[in-house]
Symmetry: C2
Subunit: 599 residues, 2 copies
């Protein structure tokens, strides 16, 4: 952790610069220019100036004070990190805590200047802050990059070579994808389209990178015209082979840093499709000053969510290998705990090792979560080698992990009984299993959305007054980000129009129960949406599980299962046994047979 | 039906007036000034000029042609009604049929005049049409009431005396309701509030009327200020007692027709809360020219949906009496069919008679639907004395009916087996019953919405590739409209933010299966939303059925029920028996016991 003294000094430097430039308030946000979920160190500006490592932060600094907003997941860690820095923690959503906009409206006076870095801020937040400031009569400078001037030893932007995803792995050429996007542009009346989101760019061009940990993407911007395509990418990322590939698919490359000056001088001949949900504030501002903006979701968002035949087949293959590794891990844990020292950390290492031995393994798809009993009740618990708890021989070890392979991105959670369980643990596990299975085996009509499916999963828990404070499912990329849209299985929010579930989408199914200071349970399997049937009443869909890892028979209390739930559980276990038994021999196989026995 | 010749003549008169006034197109819509679902004859302007009786109509007339838009429910009847009138039927949503807006954009030229009657048009439609016309460069006259001048023998506005709903029936005084609304106005920063929706006005002031068939409301507008309330109502509706009541609750009355001129000359001192979803286009236009408009749902919408203790208790009481009448009706039908002549019409009369004998009966809550076999597959089938089918001694008779009582508005559908059923009929009935029961007995968290609950109901049907083309549930008023908002159980549309289900709401639960030319099945019970429990995870809700009428044991094929569905069915029947057996003796009682036997 950066020392409190250092943070105070950095803020003083910032204030000196603000005074010089006549700035009343600066506002920084923990985002990157690409609206990425995970960001690389180079863009961690709020962390540099505040020391706070939370990933949802707004930092406002004036001549004397500083205020940092973050959400409930980080109240405890942020309070710790901010202690003695002079920064006030603003607990989002808590009574008496103003929103950032309300704060700006109250704090700013006519004639004041608010400075922010619009490149390093998502478009909708930038617009909200500007509106609030202008309502207060203040002026907004939206290209104020304090880090540029003040961040000593700022990490360089990563510059890792990109690689080409061959057509036999992608199932479709970049030419074809560009053509599909251009057709959509034409339909929408757009002459140009700017893509800032890194996974969209990787998908469109069939390239992969490694600029962000666990996300096989590269820093880039893409400008698509009716006949042209301009890619802004760091020179060091493009080797000769890739350069040749770009020439073949008629993609002209430019230096990453030149994107804004290039667009500034670009002559747009018609409307420009830009997705404000996946662009920076400065990008939206720049384009809307130069051309008519069609603010629509990136066409690639929906296209990449519907996996093609190749992607589906490869995913089925790798998910099975991945499932076998997780199943082997469960067997090992059950045998090790009580006999040799196991910590959350060594368990995670074992899981990662098993996964890395799978041919085609590229990387983890996120840092493995390994949490024993009470630790698993904490939403963002991450065991380190130093602080990891020892896994005792009772209760639950929750392991949430996944891999990047040359043919899939996986994600799976199992909660392993490492010894005797309490009656409450069994009840909660059983209801979680019912939730997981009911969603897995549901059938629904085309047009059904994630908030509707969410209730199918939560129903068995609701029967007992139980709920979990996270979504039920997220979309998953193909050799891409482990979280992608547009679909999402979660509670109704009404904030944006929902995307219905569609055939080809790959989505997680991960209900859970979390009992503070006691234990946490989550069961996550990944589901492929497939066509079920077409009748006089319309088209129907269902899911095919991609994940085949046993649930905990020992943790099931059948009094909490309906007869139907029991049928589903036995059916799933039958499938697990059929699909996995070829991977195992001897004692392991014997255990697998027992673990998938009918209940 | 009006003769085709007459329609042609009426359109010629309209065209002559248009020519005189320099109007290129007129647009009429089948709405009333109060955004009512059912409208009185006085406002049926599109019917007068087109002869079309559909209740979702737009009629556009130019110097030579006329075009009438309606939706799929009415394609057949409207085609019939429009034959030889020279009016072209525009089938909404069909390929190649432009929307009204697209038509206006294409048809209108710069300088053209589009005329419509903004008082007799809902605000959002009016705004859409104006935008389309203005995009084409045309001018819009929004106060063109052709009916005023041309409709010979136009029915007067109904002028039936209103009656006062005493506080012991309403459970709350009008003073208290006005005070609650004024508090909400203050919270929203509104100094005035204009209410156009008739059921809201009736609810706020604790008055009832009979200006619209089956809806106990009166034609009125209400202007609420911080201390004043102005009611615009026809003089003939207010007798001495009511006039005295209005004085007591400090409501000043004005003539109904004067509302627009009164508002035109009114001095608004601050923002005005007007609900564009429940106001006419002209009302919105007038107010927004005079004051700042806060376009928010009428505060009374959510308030009246959450029934108070008195309303709940009275509803429970009357729903039981109503259920007993429907149960008796089922018994009679089963005994009559095959022995004496029964038609759909005589069956409906019998149902209505049984209901009218209940003390406290005021009116039907809608025209009873009685449909035998194939007729029940038609969405808007209504048997008349002349065209009614004879009820044979096989298959299903569907009866959907309800009453207005001095303590409830009811609505219930049962599909009665009047003889042997085919295997398909039994399968479809069984799945419909499962759908109905799963929703009835579901438990869910506060915040759950109707589109989420909808999937709970449809799931058992989706398993077999079956769906129904209507919503699953609508809100129901208290001695008020049988359809009311804000809640709705139906598919996700994303058109507007959904209102979550809340304790105190009364909502229908009416899944169905419709097989064209064969039969139609619908089972509708009414549910009261109640608090279930509060735990560390939040507050949970469930439903209490208000309707206790047996389902058809003979129509159940248990192969299509899960074990859990079967438990629910038996539980419901146990409750039906317990609640109803006191109402029956002798043979009827014997039958009730059999009809509710465990399966």
């Amino acid at each position: 952790m950066t020392s409190k003294e250092t943070i105070r000094k950095r803020l003083e430097m910032l204030r000196a610069l603000m005074a010089k430039e006549g700035i009343r308030l600066t506002l920084m946000k923990s985002t990157d220019p690409h609206a990425s979920e995970y960001i690389c160190d180079h863009f961690k500006v709020t962390e540099y100036f505040s020391g706070c490592t939370s990933d949802n932060v707004v930092l406002i600094t004036d001549a004397v004070n500083a205020y940092l907003w973050t959400d409930g997941r980080y109240f405890i860690s942020a309070a710790n990190e901010l202690m003695d820095t002079g920064i006030t923690l603003m607990r989002m959503g808590m009574k008496g805590v103003p929103t950032v906009e309300a704060f700006l409206k109250k704090e700013l006076q006519p004639g004041d200047v608010l400075a922010l870095d619009g490149r390093n801020m998502d478009a909708s937040s930038g617009a909200k802050y500007r509106a609030a400031a202008e309502k207060a009569g203040a002026e907004v400078i939206s290209n104020f990059d304090a880090a540029e001037e003040l961040w000593v030893g700022r990490p360089e932007k990563p510059q890792n070579p990109v690689w080409i995803l061959p057509e036999e792995l992608a199932g479709e050429s970049a030419d074809s994808r560009l053509a599909r996007i251009r057709r959509r542009m034409e339909e929408e009346g757009a002459k140009h389209h700017i893509v800032s989101s890194l996974d969209d760019i990787a998908w469109i061009l069939n390239i992969r990178g490694s600029d962000i940990a666990c996300c096989p993407v590269c820093l880039a911007y893409l400008l698509i015209g009716a006949e042209t395509a301009d890619l802004f990418i760091q020179k060091g990322e493009v080797d000769q082979e890739t350069a040749e590939y770009f020439r073949q698919i008629k993609v002209k490359t430019h230096e990453y840093e030149e994107v804004f000056s290039y667009l500034e001088n670009y002559h747009f001949e018609g409307a420009v499709l830009v997705d404000s949900g996946h662009s920076s504030y400065e990008m939206m501002r720049l384009i809307s000053e130069k051309a008519e903006v069609l603010d629509l979701p990136n066409p690639s968002l929906a296209m990449k969510a519907r996996k093609n035949k190749t992607e589906v087949e490869n995913s089925r293959h790798y998910y099975l290998l991945d499932s076998a590794a997780v199943t082997r891990f469960i067997y090992r844990m059950k045998n090790k705990v009580g006999h040799e020292a196991v910590t959350e950390y060594t368990a995670a290492c074992e899981m990662d090792r098993l996964r890395s031995e799978i041919p085609g393994f590229l990387d983890l798809s996120f840092g493995t979560i390994s949490a024993y009993n009470a630790n698993a009740a904490m939403a963002h618990y991450q065991a380190s080698e130093e602080n990891a708890a020892t896994v005792g021989n009772e209760g639950f070890l929750l392991v949430d992990s996944g891999g990047q392979y040359k043919g899939a991105t996986t994600d799976v959670t199992r909660t392993i009984a490492v010894g005797p369980l309490s009656a409450e643990m069994k009840r909660d596990y059983t209801l979680t299993a019912a939730a997981n299975l009911r969603l897995m085996y549901s059938r629904f009509k085309k047009g059904t959305t994630g908030s509707q499916l969410d209730l199918i999963a939560r129903s068995p828990l609701y029967e007992y007054g139980i709920d979990y404070d996270h979504g039920t499912g997220h979309g998953i990329g193909y050799i891409l980000n482990v979280h992608e849209g547009p679909q999402r299985i979660g509670k109704y929010t009404g904030n944006a129009k929902e995307s219905p579930m569609e055939a080809g989408m790959i989505t997680s199914d991960e209900p859970g129960v979390y009992r503070e200071n006691l234990y946490g349970i989550r069961i996550e399997s990944i589901l492929l949406c497939v066509e079920d049937c077409e009748t006089e009443f319309g088209e129907f869909l269902r899911f095919d599980p991609l994940t085949y890892v046993p649930l905990e028979r020992d943790a099931i209390d059948i009094r909490y299962l309906t007869a139907e739930d029991r049928i589903l559980l036995n059916h799933y276990h039958e499938e697990v046994r059929a699909k996995l038994s070829g991977f195992f021999t001897g004692e392991e196989r014997k255990w697998l047979i027992e673990a998938t026995e009918e209940i």
